[in-house]
Symmetry: D2
Subunit: 428 residues, 4 copies
Amino acid sequence: MLDTATPASRTAGITYARYCAVRARTLALAAPLSAEDCALQSMPDASPVKWHLAHTTWFFETFVVAPRDRFYEPFDPAFKVLFNSYYNGIGEQHPRAERGLISRPTLDDVLAYRAHVDASMSARCTEADNDSTLAALIELGLNHEEQHQELIVTDVTHLFSRNPAHPASFAGRDAPRTATPVRWIECPAGIANVGHAGDAFAFDNEGPRHRVWLEHFELASRPVTNGEYAAFIADGGYRRPELWLSLGWDAVCARQWSAPLYWQFADERWRAFGPYGLQDIDPHAPVAHLSFFEADAYARWAGARLPTEFEWEVVAGRSTSDDLQSTSRRNGQTDSLLAPRTPIGVRGDIAAGEVWEWTSSSYAPYPGFRTAGGAIGEYNGKFMCNQYVLRGASIATAPGHSRITYRNFFPPDARWQWSGVRLARDIR
Amino acid sequence: MLDTATPASRTAGITYARYCAVRARTLALAAPLSAEDCALQSMPDASPVKWHLAHTTWFFETFVVAPRDRFYEPFDPAFKVLFNSYYNGIGEQHPRAERGLISRPTLDDVLAYRAHVDASMSARCTEADNDSTLAALIELGLNHEEQHQELIVTDVTHLFSRNPAHPASFAGRDAPRTATPVRWIECPAGIANVGHAGDAFAFDNEGPRHRVWLEHFELASRPVTNGEYAAFIADGGYRRPELWLSLGWDAVCARQWSAPLYWQFADERWRAFGPYGLQDIDPHAPVAHLSFFEADAYARWAGARLPTEFEWEVVAGRSTSDDLQSTSRRNGQTDSLLAPRTPIGVRGDIAAGEVWEWTSSSYAPYPGFRTAGGAIGEYNGKFMCNQYVLRGASIATAPGHSRITYRNFFPPDARWQWSGVRLARDIR
Amino acid sequence: MLDTATPASRTAGITYARYCAVRARTLALAAPLSAEDCALQSMPDASPVKWHLAHTTWFFETFVVAPRDRFYEPFDPAFKVLFNSYYNGIGEQHPRAERGLISRPTLDDVLAYRAHVDASMSARCTEADNDSTLAALIELGLNHEEQHQELIVTDVTHLFSRNPAHPASFAGRDAPRTATPVRWIECPAGIANVGHAGDAFAFDNEGPRHRVWLEHFELASRPVTNGEYAAFIADGGYRRPELWLSLGWDAVCARQWSAPLYWQFADERWRAFGPYGLQDIDPHAPVAHLSFFEADAYARWAGARLPTEFEWEVVAGRSTSDDLQSTSRRNGQTDSLLAPRTPIGVRGDIAAGEVWEWTSSSYAPYPGFRTAGGAIGEYNGKFMCNQYVLRGASIATAPGHSRITYRNFFPPDARWQWSGVRLARDIR
Amino acid sequence: MLDTATPASRTAGITYARYCAVRARTLALAAPLSAEDCALQSMPDASPVKWHLAHTTWFFETFVVAPRDRFYEPFDPAFKVLFNSYYNGIGEQHPRAERGLISRPTLDDVLAYRAHVDASMSARCTEADNDSTLAALIELGLNHEEQHQELIVTDVTHLFSRNPAHPASFAGRDAPRTATPVRWIECPAGIANVGHAGDAFAFDNEGPRHRVWLEHFELASRPVTNGEYAAFIADGGYRRPELWLSLGWDAVCARQWSAPLYWQFADERWRAFGPYGLQDIDPHAPVAHLSFFEADAYARWAGARLPTEFEWEVVAGRSTSDDLQSTSRRNGQTDSLLAPRTPIGVRGDIAAGEVWEWTSSSYAPYPGFRTAGGAIGEYNGKFMCNQYVLRGASIATAPGHSRITYRNFFPPDARWQWSGVRLARDIR
């Protein structure tokens, strides 16, 4: 789950302006939604928007304000439990599957809660100029909030997908695309350095930087498109067990999967539900809402395989820019794996990007990885089991949030993120 | 499920004023609730308030307005499926367990839907003066709406019980009570006539009126109180399998029941959650929120048994009034089973009464029972399996709604209604 | 569950010869089965044959031998728990769903256990000549064992039905049948006496004898046949929700029912699995392996209804003989509901009869019903919830076991017994 | 699941004597078991012994005899489906969870099936002298059978653990042990070659041999003992969420784990169930029957971590012998990770060894891994998801079966294998 992070960086100096900008973007994402939209939970994996608004605030309250503001009065003592996601070190948690049973506090109450905590954060940001630990904590909180910004988009999309009226959650429309032909980017065998380095912020799971041995391989220059994936479906991809991992085939049969999540076939064509409602699929756009199982089966069908997360990182690292979103916004051609991307805005400029890309790498600690002490150490490490790493960023990712070394991760059957697939091949 | 009814009566002449009064009471019940409160669903058996507001309107639209108003334009064609509860004769239904995933239509949309249908109903009520079939349908729709008024109270109470803050859903407070000592009302063996007779409205399941043979028995003059039930708990009632039906004991073990739903023991005393929040139990008030299994086990512990629905009806029928609520409001003493009741208002005068009383009678058709043709026939008959009859009325029942012959019914493990127990004994 | 009984009778004098005969019949039923056949459990509702062999012995050991034979040494103290079915008054029970995980004791061990207990029973039967309580207990144990004889047949049949090779469990073959046309046997309204009377053995749930009021009705002279039921299927019976109880329709959809249990359609014809393997259905034989839901839906489709258990009993009681099996064996014509039956033997003369017939009566206590004290009182009473009464007997019922007043009972979705349907109609 | 293998080796020349020896060992393992013991299935993950006896035979029949013996008559055509484990390329499979519902074929039938196939295998072994492909297939079949030999022991042990009498499945007794103090074996950073090389048989998942980069680390000279693990329990290991992976803590709570599978605390001491029945734990013996989650939590508690599979392989490879069992039998001291092991026989000399050791490595394909074409390619590759690699061998492993490069694998919650834990530590 993309829920957490730990202060691996030694960033000093967070301006309150930056704090306010991140916080404001969260509100902007929720702005077109009603209180009812914000209260509902469509499945245990997804949370109500109201809960995201409160939990991100709870994070600052719990880890920054409460320990450092001796005049601080909790907005509501019950929130300690109610908006604790999974930090056993903090104490009890309201059951995850029951986040959608909470009509009170109301959305207005939660917005007041945000303002209440923000009021103390102004002074905390100033203190952070001379306190690098505090600065790192605040930076962590902001990155944490950006992660929940993405989840707001994915969770509302899932909620609305369960509504037979298929309402749009955001105004807008996907721009038409023209997919470039795939180029294969070659990488010779050798030792590579991977993982985060430097003083800029990164989550703890991105380090320590370390060496890995890579064999000779090549990577596709762009993700698989809707059109390419439709050919897999048309070729019986969902009916041929030999293409699937055993657990994947079990999922296909038990859940009767026959296309990516949100795809519907009617009137001789595929349409897909998304933030803008139900629309025809664009054959040139990257396919999204695939499980790891589907990504893996597609790759096998295509005579290729998924890349490892390190293969991805090494090729992506050849880019001249570390900012995935910026690269895509420039829409320029580079020699990296990052295909030129049409800026697809979710509500104007809020988000741009493509799809997260499943890798074959099980989510595991890097050599020498240590979790931080205390509850903050529960961010990433404890989830390193039965999940797979995704690299890149998606249209729902906050601008500037992702990095070449960024490790997103989900269980192999998860489909409600913008998750797609890029191919790799051995060279012998 | 207390969801439906069929036009067994030949009532003629429904004033629009009465229509408006019933409709207004529904809105009054929802008035203190926010849009968020109205959107949530706490379990598959309970529905969101918004759904109740819409479904009762759908009923008039589907069975009265659409077939009889040739100028009527549906408010939204999708509502035909979305707010169909279980009428296969009408067509598909939105899945019951997913009623809480619908943020759109919003509460405001649903209120506009109510007004839209009400606008046509004015003329329909006038037409009903000369059309007894139409009058019966409208009367049915109003009684149907009153049933959902009770469900609004029980369902919101259940929803709020899952909120760790235990919010009150209605302003108010239970008045203190003084339970009278139990008198035993005797009834000799013989043939009794039971079931609804006459022209006044009744649900189809209350007839045909017919004969039954009853043995010599006696019935308690009032339901069991909280204080009496607490003695059962204190005597190990929930730990003694010999007191329970086999399925009841399974439920006790699997769900770890140790008290009625909503009861909590802390600080050396029992408290119970209800519409006014979490309050000390009143030992003199009737115990509520029992399953059939608990009612049955209590009776066995007390050396008694549950009455049959006909035993209840025969003794209750000795009352000078057929209106359970009025009787209780007069607070007078009668020779019937109806104990004097303190008017316990849910929001002022909106409701008064006691608890529904489990009987030992499986919910089954009376001899000669026939369902109506068409979808309207799906009201009651198809639910006559694995449910047990409750008689009486509760604090959540709409005033004037219940009758001596009224048959409420729920599965034996249901506890979220105001369901209690009255004792009966054989006399030999 | 047809598991128990209580000593309602005052039978005196059980000959050891009768004891041995009943016990021997149980062994005879198991004789064609291997140790492997006897060890397996195909579902929680069905038990391994080995368990039946042991549990019936446990019954005599627990209720007869251990309390009355001061020299008795338990065969194995662990059996007290292992073969206790559901008697909380005796103590813990091995979990029902795990009866099929017990390879040791072996079948040979269990046969030795039977002999060990039988050795003491010889003297107990002699004592019973002067001890009517003991005689009643032994008689109860024998009737209990006969009930398990039927379950041995139904449970093995179910087990073998799950084997893709469809092996026969017994040698033999159904004799071809010729169904007589249905006659309707009329019964006027009035008070009827129902329930067991007299000194002969009956289970406690068959009494007390009492009065009931019956309306004017008529009952079919024979159960519905396979051919008649096939017409219901062909008419879309399993695809028309209006024919079904709501819970029944849920079962049809969730379990994808489209025919009685054990029926298979292939090569343009229906075949059914049974004790003799997979065979063509005989259109003249009574349809079996119906749930209550299917029986009820068929009756509705046929413009009729299920009889109540008392309607059945009153008409059946007009027979000159109280022995259902004997009547059928004589194959004679009577004015009762009992159709002439071809003796269909399960292994020669072991069993003869037709099908148990679902009634519309929920399984409930008769007025004045009292359970016996102690563990023996757990026989029948605690199961009186959410089950429906079946009357008659089946091809798997032990000869002489059933009675006109006999009440068999199963949950409404049970299908692995020989359960069929007889029609009734109101006369107005 | 340890079910399969693929012919990665080019072994030529299988003597029929070797074939017979492996097949005979399978029968020897089943010899002390009754037909009832062999028929039961205690959980979907475990299979009946009878099924193992048949499936291993099915493997030779399907992949060796049927394609190469033109005179071969199938023993029973139904076995093609009945004993197919998971080979979609062969066709349908009998449902895994229903392997315990098959009383027929009987155990004797299955033994006859074994002899029937063996009769043809004599000539096939001779042909294999001149046909390396055939030789590789037979070798694969023998290794496959050895894997099922281990599963016979683990599955029977699990079955008997569910029997409240706790019967021993094998005669014998664990010899007392003296654990040596742990030594830490250091390994410098560098490139290592891992995976199988050479012509000897190995499963396909052990190759291709390839390079990996390892950081500086050290590995414990022996696995964790029962005594050491008991200290973890005593220190509250099962009550401290901070020690656990998130999924592991979920498992602890949901399944109420408080000790390894088969451990019971009574009379102030720990006992554990095993092939010899219920016995006191030996504090010096390696702890077994741990899930990956427990192994991981123990390591965290101990201030260490699990090794990767490559760390394990590199240190183990320093041993002078490649045969894990032989090393242990010599009981000698080496500089490898292999601790001296007391030969613990399961039924005499049938098996010796310790425990499989969980590694932190997710089960994934090695670079360049390709599955074989056809059904045989379903052996290993399709299971490479959500499982973790175990290295070593156990007391239940067939002699000579395991290798330094051997990769066993199970889901992280599996506990019924002899699975333990060895510690590793980073050195910086």
